[in-house]
Amino acid sequence: MTSASINSGGRVFAVALALAGWFVKFVAVVLVIATFNFILVHAAPGDPAQVIAGQSGASDEKLLAQLRAEYGLDKPYPIQLANYLKRVVTLDLGYSYRQQRTVASLILERLPATLLLTATAFTLALLSGIILGTLAGVRAGKWSDTLLTIVSLLLYATPVFWLGLMLVLLFSVQLDWLPAFGYVTIGVPMTTLQRMGDIGMHLILPAVSLAAVYLAIYTRLMRSSVLDVTHQDFIKTAKAKGLKQGRIIIRHILRNAMLPIVTVAGMQAGALVGGAVVIETVFAWPGLGRLIYDALLQRDYPVLLGVFLVMSVIVIALNLLTDAIYRVIDPRVSVRAAS
């Protein structure tokens, strides 16, 4: 069926139907994930009361009982789960008794730092990966291709925390160009512009470290994809038509070679939100990754569940976005075919 056979009213209806379908799926997936998260989180041995006792050097029955009652852990699991799902449906992320804050406020406080870091790293990795991969693919077999391949393999094999520390040693300790950790200089009055610049300087090292691994993946992927497309008939046709090399690369090769990149990038964009734990730790970046890690060690269930939920929603949303981008890049994918 071609899009020409559908009249415009039918098309609006098809889109609305698709959206409704998406929404139902979305809610169902979120609820399943929430239940699964709950079971997983409570399967770990120990509870927040024991962790607090373990880090306080003293404990007694009353303390444990007080803490458990406060955290709602004195109720049976099914009731705890039901209470939790009720909150999820009403979009209430809960309250962290440990930190005496609502989970929503804890997440909102950390989200900007993480998004700034991961969005920067992601953009950096994606853009340079596409450019470098295309260059390598077009010059396949030449020395510049070999060099790019070696560098991207090295980057891919480098542990991200090690790379981060090495960059700090070079750019902070040896050269003293960039700050080693934190996200902003503390205790100095600054104008908004100065503050933005200051945050920008703090952002460079963690963003570059985080981007490095992904950059390597995109470069490799883009290279093989470009190679693949280059040998297809329509490229030969374009060449035969006498089109210029630059135009062929941009209009014909790139657009077609992008599809696998979009797939992988869509999957990794979700991982980037949670995958920044290591970089956030090395660079003392106050983001969501560390909030998760700390909450896990402290068995701060409401925070843990809240962050998991927000992350799953982000991942689902990014998947939908990926679908949409497919449609823009590749007209063969229609709304109906995807739904």
Binding site: A44, P45, G46, D47, Q50, A53, G54, Q55, S56, G57, A58, S59, D60, E61, K62, L64, Q66, E70, Y97, Q100, L106, E109, R110, A113, F161, L165, V168, L169, S172, V173, L175, D176, W177, L178, P179, A180, F181, G182, Y183, V184, T185, I186, G187, M190, L193, Q194, G197, D198, G200, M201, T281, V282, F283, A284, W285, P286, L291, L297, Q298, R299
Partner: protein, 528 residues
């Protein structure tokens, strides 16, 4: 090119990058002003020490909340917010006179009412360790705003050693009385009477404290600000020290393997002083319920088989002192004249043979599991060392890993065979030592109780008598006796008086001048 020039090149204004101005002015005696940058890790959940007693909370909260007394490095009481005190001859009445003019951070005065409320109402409700001590107070009287009198139910000699800022932080009655303590909205503000008050806490980044202008001690505090930075990665913390971004580290901030390297830095002094009040005592915990650890000879064999001297060198880089028994040499009533277990593979093997625990064809006599305490890399190394050294006498150790939640759950429920433990002594055996050995403290599910399950009626009696005796000579006699019995029985194998490297910027004065060290208020700390 330096950072400022690089920033200019990048088009970023260098003002923000010029570093933190110290703003020090010289006054008579100690220098006034300046910002102390240091580390806090892991990040505390809240700062109210009356409600949470995790170590980072106490380190930071010590600047915000003060208590009646402070303690010298040899654990003699010194004035805190109480300028003088008296104990009645029968050991039942304690009278404290407060300094005049003490105010909370919200400007309200601190009076004897706040002291009585904190110690007899709020802390016994919210603070497990304080509850065990202050619940012995029968009633508190406040004849005038500067006098508080505690009448005890029975004599309890260590009371005067249990009034430090980690045990007895004084909270404002006008904020907490009648409220649900843990849910009080004022908890976020952490209103105390200490020399520093909370200005800003950016979660995941830093806690910013500034001087409390209404502080009652003349000229104090000397510092303008204290900034606690949250730096979760050990390598990054060492780097921050090397770069001079921070002027002080404490507890586990610096890993042992970095100490030798960082000690060479010219701008810092490294000390292990300032932990005398806590005197963290480290031992190998043996579940006395599990065979063959129920046999005294087996535990003695382990004490002989552990090569502590070489462990101190290789795992802890020569920092800790080897422990001789249940009481730390820094704690009161320490007895050094006890049986010694020298490192001897022969003696260990002889004891095991005597028990009839012969090695099998593979050389193994018994296999036991060691649950590695989840408190950092060094515990992993210690576990590996223990496995190697006990392997030499045929005790096969299997290492198990877990995190704090898992460790606490298993350990407290006696679901372990061996593990490491580290317990604070709080200056007096009745406060921090007896709890590990007395039968009445064998409590399932409770950490830092008598988890090993050791039980000896004579030991129970001696600890009990010593806690209520009011005469120090009598107490010494009882504690010496009980230490000798315990060392003979080896309920756990004591390893080290744990030492922590505190790196202090050489310009800083008075950082570790008391037995509470880095937990202290820092009111007398200054740059030069």
């Amino acid at each position: 090119m330096n950072r400022r020039e690089f920033a200019k090149l990048m088009g970023v204004s260098a003002v923000a990058l010029s570093g933190i101005p110290l703003g020090i002015t010289r006054a008579a005696g100690q220098t006034k002003g300046g910002t102390l940058n240091t580390i806090i890790q892991p990040e505390p959940p809240i700062l109210v020490t009356a409600l949470n007693q995790q170590q980072p909370t106490l380190t930071l909260g010590g600047k915000i909340y003060e208590s009646l007394l402070r303690y010298s490095t040899d654990l003699k009481p010194m004035p805190g917010i109480a300028q003088s005190w008296e104990v009645s001859p029968d050991g039942l009445t304690y009278t404290f006179k407060l300094f005049p003019g003490i105010t909370f951070h919200d400007g309200k005065p601190l009076t004897s009412e706040d002291v009585a409320f904190s110690m007899t109402k709020m802390l016994p409700e919210t603070h497990a360790r304080a509850r065990a001590i202050y619940s012995r107070i029968d009633k508190a009287e406040t004849p005038d705003p500067l006098t508080v009198i505690f009448k005890m139910k029975a004599p309890f000699a260590p009371f005067l050693t249990a009034l430090d800022c980690t045990t007895g932080p004084i909270v404002p009655k006008h904020i907490y009385d009648g409220s649900d303590y843990r849910k009080n909205p004022a908890n976020a503000q952490a209103i105390g009477s200490g020399p520093f008050k909370l200005k800003e806490w950016v979660k995941g980044s830093h806690v910013h404290l500034v001087r409390h202008e209404g502080y009652y001690r003349k000229d104090e505090p000397y510092l303008d600000e204290v900034i606690y930075r949250i730096i979760p990665d050990a390598a990054s913390r060492s780097l921050a020290l090397e770069q001079g971004k921070i002027q002080l580290t404490q507890w586990n901030d610096i890993e042992f393997y970095d100490v030798a390297r960082l000690s060479k830095l010219p701008n810092y002094e490294m000390t292990t002083k300032g932990y005398e009040y806590f005197a963290p005592h480290q031992w190998l915990e043996l579940n006395n319920r599990v065979k063959p650890m129920d046999d005294k000879r087996f535990r003695q064999a382990i004490a002989h088989a552990l090569d502590l001297k070489s462990m101190a060198q290789r795992v802890y880089f020569g920092m800790p002192k080897i422990a001789t028994g249940p009481v730390s040499s820094k704690t009161r009533f320490y007895e050094k004249d006890v049986k010694r277990y020298d490192y001897s593979i022969e003696k260990a093997k002889a004891l095991l043979d005597e028990m009839g625990l012969k090695p099998g064809p593979d050389g193994k006599r018994v296999t036991l599991k060691y649950l590695i305490p989840p408190y950092g890399e060094v515990y992993q190394r210690a576990g590996e060392f223990i496995r190697q050294t006990l392997g030499r006498v045929g005790i096969d150790i299997q290492l198990e890993n877990t995190d704090v939640g898992g460790w606490a759950e298993k350990f407290s429920n006696w679901d372990y065979e061996m593990t490491g433990n580290l317990v604070y002594q709080y200056g007096d055996p009745a406060l921090g030592v007896s709890r590990t050995y007395i039968s009445s403290n064998i409590k399932k599910g409770i950490l830092f109780s008598n988890t090993a399950g050791y039980s000896n009626p004579e030991v129970d009696r001696l600890f009990d008598e010593a806690a209520s005796a009011t005469d120090d000579a009598k107490r010494q006699e009882l504690y010496s006796k009980v230490q000798k019995i315990l060392v003979e029985d080896v309920p756990v194998v004591w390893m080290f008086e744990a030492a922590y490297p505190t790196f202090i910027d050489k310009r800083l004065k008075n950082v570790t001048s008391t037995g509470v060290g880095v937990h202290e208020s820092f009111s007398s700390v200054s740059f030069g």
